[in-house]
Symmetry: C2
Subunit: 388 residues, 2 copies
């Protein structure tokens, strides 16, 4: 079967999560992705004695791996030769590094290959007052409003546990590359695609921003625990179950009537304070109390089956261990077990992008450091990636 | 200037956040996006008496707006006529709705227009055991592991405040559409692009999954507050400042030496328990205590300027109000003020995808309900979108 990006060559200078996630999805969808590491390797490799920590293995499947010392003349020469026939280059250095390496897009790379799509991922972007701040997922979550909107009003701000800044950045970068590829088909020319984690996070704040601009200034909280950001919906919360927690939302009046029916509490429909979403939102604590009293004696999956069976949005709060073995994610090929030469059995993610005409049909484990040096660079390059 | 998606027509049946964010970015990058609402309108409109709540205005800029009753024969006929010349269709109904409307991709739409790219966004996907669960951002965060990895070990799980499931879903959908557009250039044929929020969240769990698979089973926490997910780095936390909080990370030994220098504590370099990242991680609380004692008497921006000036990753925790007026986001055109006919001045997001050859050169406010009925559908359609 044809794959969407078949025939395209991607040079991947990126490290850690943001860039590598972008190129992972390109590799899954048919591009030949060549991960170019320094002789020391992606800094992520240091996190495990095998030089293949779990997160590295997750994000580098189906890539070729070569090593080049871009600070050496020979390494740079070999790299520029690869640039000449590449379609896409991805890097997530801090701003200015490529220029210092003598590999600036406008001054050097574009002249070598005008069709090249140059994709750069940063923490804060190539312009603006924060440009030169060194940044990572944690600092971007802090400055970008994720922390202020996460947690409880009477507690300090707290990060989102997952690497949402990194992954939103990487996904926007892939989307931008898709746009540039399509435009290249029309014009024949490449261009620069720029995405920052900080920019990519901003639109996720829609609900907290709506609470700020459209909400009640006397009842405004930056963070609301598991309640609705604007405190404008109830039931909308995470409730205790006998064996954990469940999330339940009544997004419509129909959901509320269905829930009341399941709770066998027709009397609630008669009460003035629960008669519509506005009045229920004004009595959130009472509503939550009623729901909690029912949920606390029942197991989480049982609650979820009861509610979703009737059409009420509900789900169990799964632990990370439960997610890691989730039958649904396994069936959706989002959790795939493969063999890795340095690790044995490892679980890697599939692609969340399901294309009806571009299947991911095989998984090759993340490369060892310099594994494909000879195949890609030829005999003139030794294991450290320096020309002999 | 040419725009990346100029000339493409997008039919947008999607509501709320996930689909509309995807089509927003397509509109910014040159596509003609026709938002097709039921005569009642996007359910988001109900959140504000103006029928243009802030979050609706954020995600529907630069789109045309028409109303059609897809349950009526005339509405369906008008819609199918639009399908014949469209390039892309985006919907985020629950699985099965399009089929019940008589608008199934395989059975109907593909036959009308084999070049059509059909993009479907769901909570849990079109396959798998959770397929038919009604779901929204909150329930997907619950079942997808975001909640379990967010918050403190001794506190219950808590959601990420921002709509990370919705926006990761929408961004993956855009990336998938980009891949399909490129493939269509090669093959001439459209295809189905499918993304679920649940799938899209899974790769964000890289650090909690690495802590599970590579970490110390005796020192394993599903959530670690603002500390490193695997408790394998220090300093790595959010620290109290005189006027708020700051995030600080020492990702390398160089960062640690620079920080010690700023703290004027050369004695720390001599201590066995702080000699490298492994030993510091084994003494996280002592390290955090030392950093906190220094930060607590200084204002957050002053700390950040001191640290980032030397190259140490640091950022202030900004409140939502501060983010809403962030000078960097304004300069990056991520916060843009425009006039909306029903609202007056509103702040909308720009595109996080910066393309050097495809500028966003103008912003048209989100459409009123049925605003472009006549322009798009002609005189035969009245204001309710039903053929006269």
């Amino acid at each position: 079967m044809n794959k969407a990006l078949e025939g395209l060559v991607v040079l991947d200078l990126s490290q850690v999560y943001q860039g590598p996630y972008c190129t992972l999805l390109m590799a899954y969808h048919g591009a030949k992705v060549i991960k170019v590491e320094s002789p020391k390797g992606d800094i992520l490799r240091e996190r495990h004695e095998s030089k293949a920590p779990h997160e590295f293995v997750m994000f580098n499947t189906n890539k070729y791996g070569i090593t080049l010392d871009l600070k050496s003349e020979d390494g740079k020469k070999a790299f520029l030769k690869l640039v000449e026939t590449a379609d896409i280059l991805v890097e997530n250095f801090t701003p200015g590094v490529m220029k210092r390496l003598g590999l600036d897009y406008d001054e050097v790379l574009k002249k070598r290959n005008p069709k090249l799509i140059y994709a750069t991922a940063t923490a804060y972007g190539l312009t603006g007052p924060y440009r030169d701040y060194p940044g990572m997922d944690l600092t971007v979550q802090a400055i970008g409003g994720v922390m202020s909107s996460t947690g409880y009003p009477d507690m300090p701000p707290v990060k989102a546990g997952p690497a949402v800044a990194d992954l939103l950045g990487g996904t926007h970068l892939l989307a931008g590359i898709g746009l540039a590829l399509y435009q290249r088909e029309r014009t024949g020319a490449g261009q620069k695609v720029e995405v920052s984690m900080h920019d990519a996070l901003y639109p996720t704040l829609a609900s907290p921003l709506a609470a700020l601009y459209d909400g009640d200034p006397d009842n405004y909280y930056e963070r609301t625990g598991n309640k609705h950001s604007g405190l404008r919906a109830a039931p909308y919360n995470v409730y205790p179950a006998k064996d954990g927690f469940v999330a339940i939302i009544c997004a419509t009046e129909r959901h509320w009537r269905l829930l009341v029916d399941i709770l066998e509490r027709p009397d609630l429909l008669e009460k003035e304070e629960f008669k519509n979403s506005i009045s229920r939102a004004a009595h959130i604590d009472e509503v939550d109390q009623i729901v909690s009293e029912w949920t606390q004696d029942i197991n989480k999956w049982e609650i979820v089956e009861l509610l979703t069976g009737k059409g009420v949005p509900a789900s169990p709060v799964l632990t990370i261990k439960e997610v890691a073995n989730d039958k649904h994610l396994i069936e959706r090929e989002m959790i795939v077990e493969i063999d890795h030469p340095a690790r044995g059995k490892v679980k890697i993610p599939g692609s969340p992008i399901k294309l009806s005409k571009s299947d991911v049909d095989s998984y090759q484990p993340a490369p060892l450091l310099g594994q494909h040096n000879e195949e890609i660079l030829g005999n003139s390059i030794n294991k450290e990636g320096v020309r002999i």
